[in-house]
């Protein structure tokens, strides 16, 4: 082995995964802590209800914020679990099964979350 050279990555996917985890991680520190401060300290579960969300989702700003937060947090978390599966599940069958379940779970939750943020319309009958 030539120690003066960088090790060649097994696949470019892992390089992108590594970069994504760091970039999304730094962005998430700002977005997630901001979300926690606004929704759990400045406001909290005593204040939040349907009307609160209707008011919050009037303009595009918070929808966009929540949409980016949802996707970055989900992909960061799912990719973290993917790395854990690769670490702990050595058997090929189990690993394939776990990765498949993870992919399905990811698609379901990202679809559900995106649909809510993008398509939500307050009821015309108002409450």
């Amino acid at each position: 082995m030539n120690n003066t050279r960088w090790a060649r990555p097994e696949s470019l996917l892992e390089v992108y995964s590594w970069i994504f985890m760091r970039v999304s991680g730094v962005v998430l520190v700002v977005l997630a802590l901001g979300h926690l401060a606004i929704m759990h300290l400045i406001n909290n579960v005593d204040i939040i209800n349907y009307d609160f969300v209707v008011h919050r989702f009037v303009g595009p700003f918070w929808r966009t914020y929540d949409f980016i937060l949802l996707w970055l947090a989900m992909l960061h978390g799912l990719n973290g679990v993917r790395i854990m599966i690769d670490d702990y599940l050595i058997g090929r069958g189990w690993r394939t099964l776990a990765l498949s379940v993870l992919a399905v779970v990811g698609v379901v939750f990202l679809t559900l979350g995106s649909l809510v943020i993008v398509t939500f319309q307050p009821l015309a009958a108002g409450r």
Partner: protein, 147 residues
């Protein structure tokens, strides 16, 4: 996965190492004295998993908003109970630690010379986490009791 020990290493998958691998046991974890780096690594995985599981629940509760106002309000009412409020404080601890330790990882990855300071960086991450977490936790505890 006892069956794997009999399989030729090359069939284990592209990520498998050429040596024979065995399952990781808790006893290995206790015996392996990795110090702060190992503690940080374990806590990072644990908090990451915890946050992801909360995120799944959070997507479900928020999706109720598109279903019916009553359904959403009922779900939020559940979060007002003591169980979930304590969970909320734990979630804060998890997010703050995961974020600060993540920044420590980014610093070490992009500026490798800081590896020499890795222990100090770990305790810095813990210190910054506590500075962010403790006031927030105290405030949330007060809100919880005063309600």
């Amino acid at each position: 996965m006892a069956a794997d020990s009999t399989v030729a290493p090359t069939t284990l998958g592209e990520r498998a190492e050429p040596t024979r691998r065995k399952n990781v046991h808790l006893s290995d974890f206790v015996r392996y004295r990795g110090g702060t780096g190992m503690v940080a690594w374990a806590l990072h995985r644990l908090t990451g998993l915890g946050i992801l599981f909360f995120l799944f629940a959070h997507v479900i509760d928020t999706s109720l908003i598109g279903w019916a106002p009553e359904a959403y309000n009922a779900a939020i009412a559940l979060y007002r109970g003591a169980f979930f409020r304590i969970g909320e404080i734990l979630l804060f601890a998890a997010v703050v630690f995961h974020g600060m330790n993540g920044l420590r990882i980014v610093i070490i990855d992009f500026w490798p010379q800081t590896t020499l300071l890795q222990k100090r960086l770990f305790w810095s991450a813990v210190a910054v986490s506590l500075v962010l977490f403790l006031p927030a936790a105290a405030y949330m505890a007060i809100c919880m009791v005063r309600r």
